[in-house]
């Protein structure tokens, strides 16, 4: 099987930086009007919410575990530079080669260098959202190297020339009939079947051959342990174990925020991760990798590499409030509980990470020029913050990002692209509004004028009237009616 084509008509496999603010509006509109998509996301999210709830029957246990998990993540971040150095030292001692990358370009160049040194023709991949973030598959393809996804959901999405629509369940937008047709079309010698077990067995057969033959295995990292120099991976399928065990070279890539100090710190984080994500008490596999094959050992990769990626994370780190973004353990619970995500699905956002977490993390990765509209794609209902296992105040961060995007550009901003959503007219309107509402005299005058001049209210009021009736002042003010009643 050859690598899939780079882009498709739907455009879901396009590089992430492609989505402009205008395109984002159109994509959301399209998604909201797609009844199939609405039905499948509604069903899937209801399912995941119920499964998560069933894992936390004891409120006080959940509260205590969240407090502990939040404390561990905040503690780790407070020592981040030290822990990264400790991690590097221990991994190096264990025989793992550690690389640092400032951005996607550097990360891909490092991995391409490793692949070239081994004259690699094929790379088999375990699930890694960071590899999606850096468009790893595109970079390898451009260099003539096959990068094949092996997680069943990722495999399906890659075969269809799309991108994941959920960080945990990448193919959640597809029905089994669509997958059946895809396999029949794209996998040689396969007939149409929509039996899920049969479909999984087809994937198993195709990918087993790849595991056996691939030169390099790539994986992400869920937790990196500084004190032992250990990379931890959470998965159900066994493809993560295959990718990190069978090929001669294992490359792991992770964001710099994933490090924790002590091995025991992963116990609560792992527990709350699987329960929040898919409502599983535990995943089938928890894989702790501390080095390449030792001289006496009979299998395992001969070389292990870790790529530590910044890509905007150090920007988030520099601000005390925005730093909380980095507490994330990528469970996906915030998207499962998000009324907006449920209605527009994962692709509409156009970013690698969709949903609430995507809205708070993408602006750091891509800059606010590209993403200034994202923080507004929210009702601020608060569901995301309520379920987040590490208590990231997502709604608060969304408000902050809206401010960063829409305030007048100034020197020394906290974020790249600050002010990208600034509009002089809007800013004037809000300042005037504030002035009117801050003074009783101004307010009385304004409301008196508004009720007298109501006939002049414009019938088209920008974004408001796109989906609602126009705002028109009442003929009589409330204060007048109250006065008459007395």
């Amino acid at each position: 099987m050859s690598a899939p084509a780079p882009a498709t008509s739907k455009g879901d496999a396009r590089p992430i930086a492609f989505v402009s603010a205008q395109a984002l509006r159109e994509r959301m509109h399209e998604a909201v009007n797609d009844p199939h998509l609405r039905t499948s996301f509604r069903g899937a999210m209801d399912f995941l919410m119920a499964k998560r709830a069933a894992q936390f029957p004891d409120e006080s246990e959940l509260a205590s575990l969240r407090t502990l998990s939040e404390a561990i993540r905040q503690y780790s971040l407070s020592k981040l530079p030290d822990l990264l150095e400790q991690l590097e030292a221990n991994l190096t001692r264990n025989g793992v080669q550690v690389h640092w990358a400032a951005d996607a370009g550097e990360a891909n160049a490092i991995m391409l260098g490793i692949a070239r040194r081994h004259a690699a023709k094929s790379i088999v991949k375990g699930k890694s959202m960071v590899s999606e973030e850096i468009e790893f598959n595109h970079a390898m393809q451009a260099a003539g190297i096959e990068a094949l996804e092996s997680d069943m959901g990722e495999y399906i999405v890659q075969l269809a020339g799309e991108k994941p629509s959920h960080i945990i369940m990448p193919a959640i937008h597809k029905t089994k009939e669509q997958i059946a047709r895809l396999f029949a079309d794209k996998v040689p010698g396969v007939d149409y079947t929509d039996n899920v077990d049969a479909l999984i067995q087809i994937g198993r057969q195709v990918l087993r051959e790849k595991f056996e033959q691939a030169d390099i295995g790539l994986s992400g990292v869920n937790f990196a342990v500084a004190e032992t120099g250990t990379l931890c991976l959470v998965e159900n399928e066994g493809n993560g174990r295959m990718c990190t065990t069978v090929p001669r070279v294992h490359m792991a890539i992770t964001g710099i925020e994933k490090v924790v100090e002590k091995l025991e710190h992963v116990a609560p984080l792992f527990s709350i991760l699987t329960r929040s994500a898919t409502g599983q008490a535990i995943s089938t596999y928890f894989n702790m990798i501390s080095g390449p094959r030792k001289p006496d050992e009979k299998d395992g990769p001969e070389e292990v590499h870790l790529i530590l990626l910044d890509n905007g994370r150090s920007q988030a780190y520099a601000d005390e409030q925005l730093r909380k973004t980095l507490q994330c353990i990528r469970c996906g619970a915030c998207m499962n509980h998000c009324p907006v995500y449920t209605r527009i699905g994962g692709h509409a956002y156009g970013t690698t990470y969709p949903g609430p977490i995507g809205k708070i993390v993408s602006p750091h990765m891509m800059g606010l020029e590209q993403t200034h509209l994202l923080p507004t794609v929210s009702t601020l209902c608060g569901a995301c913050g309520e379920v987040c296992p590490v208590r990231i105040p997502i709604p608060e961060l969304l408000v902050r990002l809206r401010g960063e995007a829409q305030s007048a550009p100034h020197a020394n901003p906290a974020m790249a692209g600050q002010g990208a959503g600034y509009s002089a007219l809007a800013s004037f309107a809000w300042r005037a509004w504030a002035r009117i509402y801050a003074s009783p005299g101004n307010y009385r005058l304004f409301s008196w004028l508004a009720s007298r001049l109501r006939a002049l209210t414009p019938s088209r009021q920008s974004g408001w009237t796109a989906a609602r009736t126009p705002l028109t002042p009442a003929p009589r003010r409330l204060r007048d009616m109250v006065r008459d009643r007395r």
Partner: protein, 251 residues
């Protein structure tokens, strides 16, 4: 509000603001730059270290060995694994019977372990016993295409979730519990810990982990197609656990 057409505004020349992003000019390697940036903005004092016992200690269970075995069993069975109880003397015979029932033609196991030593002396009626010999490169094709089952010992288990602790070694390589369609694991009931946290603490894991350490909770599975659970994704399709009980304690 209407968004006016936008042009990049007021970004300092030469790249992104604040020295972030690809345009930033700083000395040193990427590593040094990232670390310097983090150092410049990290809190002056690290936060106090989290106290894990505050969560775990009040939730500790006063449980008998039988209680732990029962919880482990219920957990791992709910993940679709099979559990059998055996005595120290009787487990090879049980394994032979299970292999015959499942039509296992060839069973690969680790040589030079105590359990492997027992199998070296056994003869299974319907199954060829194969001790692992050489490196994975020498037997990759066989491992992927002809071996029906792998047998390993478990280092321990976790009662709370129904989880096996597997530490591969020179004698029991990693692929033994991964590639063959059936994985048989031998577990001593006395090595079942209440929680993962307890296992890490009791075994002093932080002082030395093997190249690869694993937690295994059932056969490989996926729900990636329409949230429908299917077993046998990429790893073993079946996980069979033989629990050796200290005589009389479990029943």
């Amino acid at each position: 509000m209407k968004q006016p057409p936008r042009s990049p505004r007021s970004l300092p020349q030469g790249g992104a603001p604040n020295g972030f992003g690809p345009g930033a000019r700083e000395a040193g390697t990427t590593r040094d730059r990232i670390l310097a940036r983090l150092r410049a903005s990290r809190p002056s004092q690290p936060l106090p270290a989290p106290v894990l016992d505050e969560h775990y200690a009040p939730r500790a269970r006063n449980e008998t060995l039988a209680g732990r075995v029962a919880r482990f069993r219920a957990g791992i069975e709910s993940f679709h694994a099979e559990v059998h109880l055996a005595s120290e003397a009787g487990w090879p015979a049980l394994l032979a019977r299970l292999c015959a029932e499942k039509g296992v033609g060839s069973l690969l196991y680790g040589a030079g372990t105590p359990a492997g030593g027992r199998l070296d002396q056994s003869a299974f009626p319907a199954t060829a016993l194969r001790p692992w010999a050489g490196c994975v490169e020498d037997l990759k094709a066989e491992l992927f295409h002809r071996i029906d089952a792998g047998f390993t010992q478990a280092l321990g288990a976790i009662a709370e979730t129904g989880t096996l602790i597997v530490w591969p070694s020179e004698a029991e390589p990693r692929t033994l519990s991964l590639v063959p369609p059936i994985h048989f694991a031998l577990l001593d009931a006395r090595s079942i810990h209440p929680t993962f946290f307890d296992a890490i603490r009791a075994g002093n894991w932080a002082d030395g982990l093997p190249t690869n350490a694993l937690l295994v909770s059932g056969p490989s599975k996926t729900a990636d197609i329409q949230q429908t659970l299917a077993y046998g994704a990429h790893g073993p399709k079946e996980l069979v656990v033989i629990v050796i009980e200290a005589e009389g304690e479990v029943r």
